[in-house]
């Protein structure tokens, strides 16, 4: 039967293109900079979702393109196609497969969420204070304030985020995560920097005139360098 052959050919094309797509995806770096444990989790979620996306994309592209070429009728053809109203088993299969896929994705998402938001206590506490339109960082246990966020590498940091005017959002692309600042509340995120270097923090929630310029430097240092920086910042002993 030719209808069955069409199906077999389309499935074969789908499988080949999906496989090629998955290989391409696996060879692509998705997040440009991964400088924290959290960004590693986020990047893992990206890889998983992108791999899952390829066969789904192909599921739409291949049958539509195949139909467009194979089942195209000439303009003066006035005949109708076969009166197929549906296909119970195929419809049920489509629904079940998409349900299973979705539940699987949601399960992975939940695990990732628990990894990023849960976890052990932090080694260091930093307070990110936002205001229109600047960041300032306080280290309550160390008695230090700074315009730049300086963190030791491989230490788990709890960053509490506050605002005294409108909404802002603390976002360090290299750390892969962000969290809004809400006046009247204290929000937080955990981050464990894994790579030393300098990065940028930015405000990701529209906050008015100076939103674009609401950025701050981030430096991740070796622990010894960090301690030296703290000593330098602390008020001089009398």
């Amino acid at each position: 039967m030719t209808a069955r052959r069409d199906l077999a050919v389309a499935v074969a094309i789908w499988a080949v293109l999906s496989a090629i797509g998955v290989v391409v995806v696996l060879g692509t770096q998705i997040l440009p900079v991964i400088a924290s444990r959290e960004a590693e989790v986020v990047n893992g979620a990206f890889v998983m979702l992108t791999v899952a996306s390829v066969p789904i994309l192909m599921l739409v592209v291949v049958p539509s393109a195949y139909s467009a070429i194979r089942f195209r009728a000439s303009d003066d053809d006035e005949t109708d196609g076969p009166p197929i109203h549906g296909h119970r088993a195929f419809e049920a299969g489509w629904v079940v497969v998409s349900l299973v896929l979705v539940i699987g994705l949601a399960a992975f998402g939940t695990i990732g969420l628990l990894e990023i938001r849960g976890g052990p206590d932090a080694d260091l506490e930093v307070r990110a204070e936002s205001t229109q339109w600047a960041w300032e960082f306080a280290y309550p246990d160390l008695g230090v304030r700074s315009k730049e966020l300086v963190l030791p590498v491989d230490r788990r940091v709890r960053i509490t985020i506050v605002s005294d005017d409108v909404l802002h959002s603390f976002y360090v692309p290299a750390f892969g995560i962000k969290q809004d600042a809400v006046p009247g509340r204290v929000t937080y995120l955990h981050v464990t920097p894994t790579v030393t270097g300098t990065y940028g923090a930015q405000c990701a929630e529209l906050c008015g005139l100076g939103h674009t310029k609401m950025v701050a430097g981030v430096a991740v240092l070796e622990l010894s360098e960090f301690e030296a920086w703290v000593a330098e910042q602390q008020p001089q002993q009398p």
């Binding site: 009728a73 549906g86 489509w94 998409s98 979705v102 539940i103 949601a106 969420l113 005017d165 009247g184």
Partner: protein, 614 residues
């Protein structure tokens, strides 16, 4: 001076101006007496006065005021309000014919689409290179206005335009259930739309279309224009939704059972149900915001114990379902077009209907996916992530239905069918990238970046705009009685599709690099891609000119269209093109489903009942 004596546009404008003065007067007086008055107070009351004066002058309320005053209905006036065929003035006054109202919505939407498109060009001009061209307030106002005007277009173009025009025709009715309410729903809009387009004159606003407090509490008077427009649009959509639902429930022709209802009508039914339930919630939120600005309340003011996150809940409880108010009618239009040009019955019709209903129900349970980084409780992320990803199951069924229909079909690539394929290819990208935003770990990185901008343009343009163009090219011969130029139609499709993808595909990458949305500047290493995007976006505008030329030229002197040029089976094609004023001389009796292609060999199987025998 006759025009001032009769209700109409001129007297409406006069009434609006007078109404504004009357409304604002007490505020001016109070200010003279030393009350603590802000310009916003005058704008709010003046706007209400202007709306009332406008509607009175226009004659939009004359039937109800006559009734309230105990006067007998004037049948001559009622008939005049319905309009005569060929009388162009009916498009510029309070006319109750659903086809006139549909066209009013459609043309209004298109004008707004061009306006907001031009604003997007201004945005892309600023973003073409690093550094700044305009000051921050101007940029934010242009960005915010582009956003809200496009949202209005997406909300009203298919529902108000194609929905009004075709739902009564497709179910075999002579008009909507409440024609005067229908006209009122349209005529509430012009003052509101004028206000939002003119908001820069009031100082503009800088919050984007989401209007999050506390920023929206301190923003300029333009913010208040936004709030008043939003609430007016809400009132208009609620009364229009009631009208649609009653029409579909009560006005179907004999034999038009629910399972014989065209899929487009089903889409509108689900859409307007969503509108009916969700809209009052956001209207309440906007009203509370207005009160915070004007009356000293503190619903969302943290310094006085209010909660800004409450606003986000109220806002998204409407504004996520609103995404489906934009998308589901487009699904309906696409699935309406597919069987006609594939010459096959709509695949899995019942499952598609169920999927619309499923989308409608689930759309109320996913709103907080916009708030994964807002600071709401952590545990709440999990159920919202699950429901958001679940909604891709019914959405996927739309693809199943379309793909199942074209498979083994006899596909004719007339222009409407091209837009269907464009819908499939572009909307699938919007759908898949939506999963990255529904998934909490990836959303923590992507939220508020250009990835989001790219994603929602793929859903709203890929979904709604492609559906709108599929429907417009499909129904143009019915509306105008003339065929569109196929060559220009194809050129429009390919040009628009390439330009759209060239513009928005790179934005996913920009988002992954950490470029925030709603910024006027960016680091130098993103300059090349931004320049490319800016240039590409201007070609979208040019492609729209092709459509404009085609539509105007074809409307004026295209080849005459027969009643049923596509050999479709649904009822709107069984009447003349364009349809007569009351649609059906004799109400049709429906004897078969709408998509029985290949079952009955010779064309339409739904015939008008009675003795006319076309």
């Amino acid at each position: 001076m006759d025009r001032w004596r009769r209700p109409g546009l001129a007297r409406g404008v006069l009434g609006g101006v007078a109404g504004f003065a009357v409304g604002a007067l007490p505020i001016v007086a109070a200010a003279q007496l030393g009350a603590d008055i802000k310009p916003g107070h005058g704008l709010a009351l003046g706007y209400i006065g202007a709306q009332v004066g406008w509607l009175l002058g226009l004659g939009a309320l004359r039937f109800w005021t006559a009734w309230a005053l105990g006067r007998a209905a004037d049948p001559v006036d009622q008939a005049a309000a319905h309009g005569r065929a060929g009388d162009w003035t009916r498009y510029f006054r309070f006319t109750t014919d659903h086809k006139v109202i549909g066209l009013q919505y459609l043309i209004t939407s298109f004008v707004l689409f061009l306006t907001a498109g031009l604003l997007a060009m201004v945005l892309r001009l600023e973003l073409a290179q690093p550094g700044r061209l305009m000051d921050g307030d101007t940029y934010n106002t242009v960005m915010s206005t582009h956003g809200i005007v496009m949202i209005v277009v997406a909300l009203i173009a298919i529902v108000g335009g194609l929905g009004n025009y075709f739902v009564p025709l497709m179910i075999g009715a002579r008009d909507m259930a409440f024609p005067k309410v229908n006209a009122l729903s349209y005529w509430l809009l012009p003052p509101a739309l004028l206000l939002i387009v003119a908001n820069p004159l009031l100082g503009g606003f800088d919050t984007g279309w989401t209007a999050y407090p506390p920023l929206s509490q301190q923003a300029n008077l333009g913010q208040q224009a936004f709030i008043l427009t939003f609430i007016t649009l809400g009132v208009s959509s609620i009364i229009s939704a009631v009208n649609f639902l009653v029409t579909v429930a009560r006005m179907r022709a004999p034999g038009m059972s629910l399972t014989r209802m065209p899929i487009f009508v089903w889409a509108l039914t689900v859409t307007t149900s969503i509108v009916l339930v969700a809209t009052s919630v956001v209207a309440a939120g906007m009203t509370m915001l207005l009160f915070d600005r004007l009356l000293g309340t503190a619903f969302f003011r943290p310094s006085a114990g209010g909660d800004p996150i409450l606003f986000q809940h109220l806002f998204w409880f409407y504004s996520h379902p609103a995404v489906y108010v934009m998308a589901v009618p487009a699904f309906g239009a696409v699935l309406e077009v597919v069987p006609v040009f594939a010459r096959k019955p709509l695949f899995a019709y019942r499952l598609a209907v169920l999927s619309f209903i499923g989308i409608g129900v689930l759309s109320f349970m996913v709103w907080a996916h916009h708030m994964f980084v807002s600071g709401m409780a952590d545990y709440f992320h999990i159920p919202i992530m699950i429901t958001t990803e679940l909604i891709s199951v019914p959405t996927g069924i739309v693809f199943l239905s379309a793909l199942g229909t074209i498979w083994l079909g006899r596909i004719r690539f007339a222009t409407p069918m091209l837009w269907v394929f464009g819908f499939l290819w572009n909307f699938v990208i919007g759908g898949i990238t939506g999963v990255f935003l529904a998934d909490v770990p990836t959303d923590l990185a992507l939220s508020d970046t250009y990835f989001v901008v790219a994603h929602f343009h793929y859903t709203i343009v890929g979904g709604m705009v492609y559906g709108l163009f599929a429907g417009t090219y499909y129904w143009f011969p019915k509306i105008t009685g003339r065929l569109m130029d196929e060559r220009l139609g194809r050129a429009h499709f390919w040009w628009f599709t390439l330009a759209f993808n060239a513009t928005f595909l790179p934005m996913f990458w920009l988002g992954l690099q950490g470029m925030r949305r709603r910024v006027a500047d960016y680091p130098a290493d993103l300059a090349d891609v931004n320049l490319w995007t800016s240039v590409a976006s201007s070609t979208i505008a040019l492609s729209t000119l092709v459509f404009l030329v085609n539509a105007i030229r074809s409307w004026a002197r295209g080849p005459k269209a027969s009643a049923n040029p596509w050999r479709a089976h649904t009822l709107e094609w069984q009447v003349a093109s364009p349809p007569p004023v009351e649609n059906f001389e004799h109400l049709p009796t429906v004897t078969a489903g709408p998509y029985e292609y290949g079952v009955s060999a010779s064309g339409p199987v739904i015939r008008p009942g009675g003795a006319t025998g076309h």
